[in-house]
Symmetry: C2
Subunit: 426 residues, 2 copies
């Protein structure tokens, strides 16, 4: 296999770490938190500054109509579809400096390194800094990759307002983007040959398993429900136990059942009750109504649906036995998205080359890659998250781990741009 010039790779690795710190200054606070909401001033400054960096690295940088930033390293063989790599530049409110940003910076520096060392590739390689993935400002996620893949159109932004009452279109216009909303798919691209994203794990599996690199097999499907359990609100002192219809006691049984059945089902299924509210809950009143969320994820749609059906049937039985009402609303259903076996094998080969212990694993979180996974071969590289923490200023991946991921990505991109995979469609 090709031996990259190690000294230069080390230099670019160091620069990659420095650029990551630099990017965190846009929207960063003194406590290490980062807030770059879509189309906000720090977001725009970050994208503009990234554009400059891309140009410095010799890439042709430009925005699309919705604010996604592309840096192109044009290939010599136009018949080969480009490989796109990157992640998103937006963050949650008071998020960390790695989520999304690492993928943008690592991809940009990888292309910079490859151009510096090998010049023009056969296949066009592109880095992308997606405008939005988190859904933190407007109640819609994947605004960036959704537009590029055609999963979202401008219509999906209609009626969306942020907490200050600013509409999506107003925010776009203020940041200088799309002024002609009649074009439904202003940023759609149908030329992408493959998509590769490097990202922090946002979970604790790699750390626990003592692995350096996660090779993502699939991004889990997800079903989200809201469950409302209704009983009778009664005085906690004057209502004997046998005369109660306690909505919380019923809900508690359902929460406990959810955990028990999920443990019984085994990995990769997870099921979570993350929010539970006792309506008008007060210490001396038997709860009359409880609302909770139920989030089920699995890499296999059939298994996910079967688990959901069984669990909800038991919920209804519990409610009936207790004389409680139950209302279950599904408000999100996303199919699992498989990652590409071919690219994943290249990632593993790169890990083997460097001696990084790798681990095949599902992604339990959503990523831009899941939008691409339905339109072109896509893959993801995970690096460990200390304590599994993300969406927090405490988000942390060590410099060594960040560099290992970066060098893995460089090797894979080399393969598709210049190496053994550069002469064929992905």
């Amino acid at each position: 296999m090709t031996e990259h010039p190690q000294e230069l790779l080390t230099a670019y690795s160091g620069r990659m770490l420095a650029e990551l710190d630099w990017l965190a200054t846009f929207g960063g606070d003194a406590e290490g938190g980062v807030t770059r909401l879509l189309y906000s001033a720090p977001w725009l400054q970050a994208q503009m500054a990234l554009m400059d960096k891309m140009q410095e690295l010799g890439l042709t940088a430009d925005f699309d109509e919705v604010g996604n930033l592309f840096g192109k390293l044009k290939g010599s063989q136009p018949e080969l579809k480009p490989v796109l790599t990157g992640s998103h530049v937006d963050t949650v409110k008071n998020g960390g400096k790695y989520d999304g940003a690492y993928g943008v910076v690592a991809s940009m520096m990888a292309l910079g390194f490859l151009k510096a060392v090998y010049g023009t590739p056969k296949r066009t390689l592109e880095v992308v800094s997606f405008c939005e993935e988190e859904g933190s400002r407007f109640p819609l996620a994947y605004w960036g990759s959704g537009h590029v893949t055609g999963a979202l159109s401008m219509l999906d932004g209609n009626g969306l307002v942020d907490r200050e009452g600013v509409t999506m279109l107003e925010a776009m216009a203020e940041a200088g983007f799309e002024t002609e909303p009649a074009r439904l798919y202003p940023a759609r691209r149908e030329d992408i040959g493959a998509y590769i994203e490097i990202h922090i794990e946002q979970g604790g599996v790699l750390e626990y398993k003592q692995k350096q690199i996660g090779v993502v097999t699939a991004i889990v499907g997800q079903i989200r429900h809201i469950v409302v359990v209704s009983g009778a609100s009664n005085h906690a002192g004057t209502t004997p136990m046998t005369m109660r219809r306690d909505a919380l006691a019923g809900a508690a049984e359902m929460v406990a059942l959810t955990e028990r059945k999920a443990l019984g089902e085994g990995e990769p299924l997870v099921a979570t009750v993350g929010r539970l509210e006792v309506k008008r809950g007060t210490s001396n009143v038997v709860p009359g109504e409880v609302e909770f969320t139920l989030d089920i994820r699995h890499t296999d749609a059939v298994a996910m649906d079967a688990f959901r059906d069984g669990l909800l049937a038991e919920f209804r039985e519990i409610a009936e036995q207790r004389g409680l009402g139950i209302q279950i609303t599904e408000h999100l259903y996303a199919l699992p998205v498989a990652m590409d076996e071919g690219i994943s094998a290249e990632i593993e080969a790169a890990c083997d080359y460097y001696g990084y212990p790798s681990w095949r694993m599902p992604s339990g979180a959503g990523h831009d890659a899941q939008l691409f996974g339905t339109v072109c071969p896509s893959a993801m590289i995970f690096v460990p998250s200390q304590g599994g923490i993300s969406h927090s200023p405490k988000e942390y991946t060590s410099p060594v781990e960040l560099v290992n991921g970066f060098q893995t990505l460089v090797r894979v991109l080399y393969q598709y741009g210049y190496g053994g995979k550069a002469d064929e469609d992905v």
Copy 2:
């Protein structure tokens, strides 16, 4: 037994119902709700108007220093300690028209009837309209009966402020009461021989058992806790089930256990988790912290404590097994208060006389009578609450039931003022 002149009793019964409607106009709204918070304008107007009514009925009416209103029917034998009867005039916010008010009006009209028919009693009989019982304006209950019995002093009002930032002393002064806060027990009375309170049940037992009158055996003791369960807040997608420390799953097990153990223990014990909050709960995050209340009530202190000890030990075991932290804070401990057997027997005798089906039962709610129960013989008469509802505009007791309770009270007060119990200490 004495036969009261039925025509006049019927007339006073009708007037009692009318006065109950009239009292509900003070602080009443169009939807049937009543709000008379301590020392507020509607509260003061109600107490002033009640004072006038008491005087019209031939009672000597006066306020004490904290705003309790007494109407005295002076007896001929000053060596006999007075029997006090009544309830509280304050309400919760948007409460009903029966809670407290019924006891005030029924007691006042009972004394009015007795005076009209029998003139001066042997023993002094007094009606009281306590200024406060609910704890709805300031975070302290039993401000009225607490002062009369010496359970509370002016010091207990120190530092208390309502939602508008008004202090207890400012509110008192504005309503025209206690301007010399240095007197710790300005309203304490040590001359009361017995206390009898008629009140709506605020539960559904009498309705369920098809009984007319509840004879209260004891007011339950109560222990209130706040339980905080802490685990690890993690991403709901990326954290495998076996790697979670889910605070809500642990709390749900505790809630379910509370109900199961309470059902196993049997009446009169009740245990309730009325409030449960998932801190920063959101659908895609494994809950890191849950706080819930635990309310345990029983008429027997030893059984109450034993139940508490057993339950909390199991809570701690659940937490330990799950690797969760648990912090349990007791923030109220009230001993059960037994009602007087002698007066209760008189109540039952009155029920038997009229043919009202009666039922011995604990009071699961707190009442002014529990303050008196520790300093003098005390008793309570319950009338049914439709659907067990109280603290709501939907609070309802039928006129027939209200009159049955009233006539029972009249008979019992006759006994202690003029009849077979009028020549001896209670």
